[in-house]
């Protein structure tokens, strides 16, 4: 009896291309809402991106009820409660997140607080805990990496308990995502590189991890093609709108892929490295990706080999093992180029990780749900070995 089964879910409307954000009020009215609670951060506001949003509302019949622009780099539960409070005070009827993963996740979590009419976010940790329909959420990403604009996940830092809380529910999916190249033009080269490598990691892990399915495969390969074509161009010239759009679409496709096929050991280690040593998620993924791929060669050489034509020129001779090695080498070549262009770290030691933290990172990583989906079984000893290689 064939016991295989997969699920695929992505109800997010995607509006991608020139002046995409101008369609926001139309989409709000289509969803039956008119007053937005905008969640953003100081960097986005300082770059003048909120004025693009404000312009979109002119003469639309919709308005902005409140703008919260103090979202921290790691979404915190206190911030979430503040945003929910402002939403109620200003009588908003939907959320608009403008920013990177932190702003989007904050808006998703505030949506839980408002929709469930609760003051205890902790009650909704885990999978499928939401019981009520959420308010419409519109998202305009300003980085091309997290894919949070199309995922059903939010990660919030509980600063009191000292833990990162993960929430997953189909109800957390945004109503619409606006991929507007104007919104990523000001992203600095190093952040462009790190978030771009985050997106590449989503696509590659989505392709070889255990929950892969034919639909996520096609999205992952599309993402890899777009990212390989345009990441270096974006880092070299941030004003290249076509390259920026490629990257934004690539990150989105990777987000749709990994939201349905999940990620593996690279993300498990990156989450733990971020939690313990505060290494930015994209930087940790960029460093760990080739080592994570190597870790899975025994179980997945054939699948990783399939990635080779999308990452590099395929060796004329040789079998899966050689092609898989070529794919891994292509990732290494990409990070080396990014290192030369903008100083993206190549080793954990370059990213400020102390050797005496590796054991704690390894121990924390085995409690990360992403390991469930990794093809190779990973113990704390295995995780430590990978970390030492990447150190």
């Amino acid at each position: 009896m064939n016991t295989s089964l997969f699920e695929f879910y992505c109800p997010v409307k995607i509006i991608s291309g020139a002046l995409a954000l101008s369609s926001l009020p139309y989409e709000m009215r289509s969803a039956g809402v008119t007053r937005a609670m905008v969640v953003t951060d100081a960097g986005v506001k300082g770059a003048g991106l909120i004025s693009i949003l404000e312009n979109a509302f002119d003469g639309s019949g919709c308005d902005i009820g409140c703008i919260y622009d103090e979202t921290p780099p790691d979404s915190a539960h206190t911030t979430v409660n503040q945003v929910a409070q402002l939403y109620r005070e200003h009588k908003c009827d939907c959320f608009v997140a403008v920013g990177g993963g932190s702003c989007i996740d904050t808006a998703k979590a505030a949506n839980i607080v408002v929709s469930e009419d609760t003051d205890d976010l902790m009650k909704f940790r885990g999978a499928d805990r939401l019981t009520k329909p959420t308010r419409p959420l519109f998202v305009a990403p300003t980085t091309a990496g997290t894919g949070s604009e199309v995922t059903l996940v939010a990660v919030i830092n509980n600063t009191e308990a000292g833990v990162k809380m993960a929430f997953t529910s189909p109800r957390l999916c945004p109503t619409a995502a606006f991929i507007d190249p104007r919104m990523t033009l000001t992203c600095p080269p190093k952040i462009t590189a790190a978030t771009g490598m985050d997106a590449l990691t989503h696509a590659i892990e989505a392709y070889y991890c255990l929950q892969k399915n034919p639909i996520s495969d096609s999205l992952a390969l599309t993402a890899i093609r777009l990212i390989m074509r345009s990441l270096i161009k974006c880092v070299e010239n941030g004003k290249d709108e076509n390259a920026r759009l490629d990257m934004a679409n690539g990150a989105l496709a990777a987000g749709m892929a990994f939201s349905n096929s999940m990620v593996g050991v690279v993300h498990a280690l990156a989450h733990a490295t971020g939690g313990i040593c505060h290494v930015p998620h994209g930087v940790a993924n960029a460093i760990l990706l080739p080592y994570g791929m190597e870790n899975n060669l025994d179980m997945r050489a054939g699948v990783i080999a399939e990635l080779a034509p999308h990452l590099c020129s395929v060796p004329a001779q040789g079998g899966d093992a050689q092609r898989a090695q070529a794919a891994i080498q292509a990732v290494r070549d990409m990070t080396a180029k990014l290192n030369k262009l903008c100083g993206l770290p190549l080793k954990l030691s370059d990213a400020g990780v102390a050797r005496d933290k590796l054991e704690a990172i390894a121990k924390a990583s085995i409690n990360d749900g992403a390991l469930t989906y990794n093809p190779e079984h990973v113990t704390a000893a295995d995780a430590l070995r990978i970390l030492e290689q990447a150190f």
Binding site: T3, G126, V163, E376
Partner: protein
């Protein structure tokens, strides 16, 4: 094997109930005797409760770590800190009849986790140890990514646990 899934719901429910009771017996034995299980439980806080069950109102069992052992505290959902639920009775049957492993059930979206995901991962690792002792070695291949190596001491422990299983099942059934 496909005929198994055509059985009446009541029969499937009984199979899952007996399986959950067996998990409880094995958990208690291993939490007292198995060094690997003791190491896994060393990070658990005493009083932590977890539930295994079937949605929406199917069979379920709740277990508690007392600090020295894992006890089956009864059938049903009893205020757990973390719970792993099968989305339907057929998915539970696939796992409890050894056709797929717990990680495969998760990968195939056949389960839903309620509660802290870190605790859930710890629970899954402990469950893997239970499954290794509960299922015969020849069935381990598809159940684990890396099938456990069981030496003489482990086989001895497994034999002892299997001998205690019938009495434990009766004891758990009346809870």
């Amino acid at each position: 094997m496909e005929k198994l899934f055509l059985l009446d719901y009541k029969v499937k429910k009984k199979i899952v109930e007996i399986s959950l009771a067996a998990v409880g017996v094995m958990f208690r034995k291993l939490s007292r005797r198995c060094p690997e299980m003791k190491a896994e439980l060393s990070d658990w806080n005493p009083g932590r409760r977890f539930t295994l069950g079937v949605l929406p109102d199917g069979p379920a069992a709740t277990f508690e770590y007392t600090g020295t052992e894992v006890k089956h505290i009864g059938r049903g959902v009893k205020d757990p800190d973390v719970a792993i639920y099968f989305k339907n009775i057929d998915s539970a049957l696939l796992v409890f009849t050894g056709q797929i492993g717990a990680h495969t059930a998760a990968i195939q979206c056949r389960t839903a986790i309620h509660g802290d995901l870190v605790h859930a991962m710890q629970m899954v690792r402990a469950m893997d140890i239970v499954v290794a002792y509960l299922m015969p070695g020849f069935m381990h291949g598809p159940l684990f990514k890396r099938p456990p190596k069981m030496g003489f001491k482990e086989q001895l422990l497994k034999t002892g646990a299997m001998l205690e299983l019938p009495a434990g099942l009766i004891f758990n059934a009346v809870k």
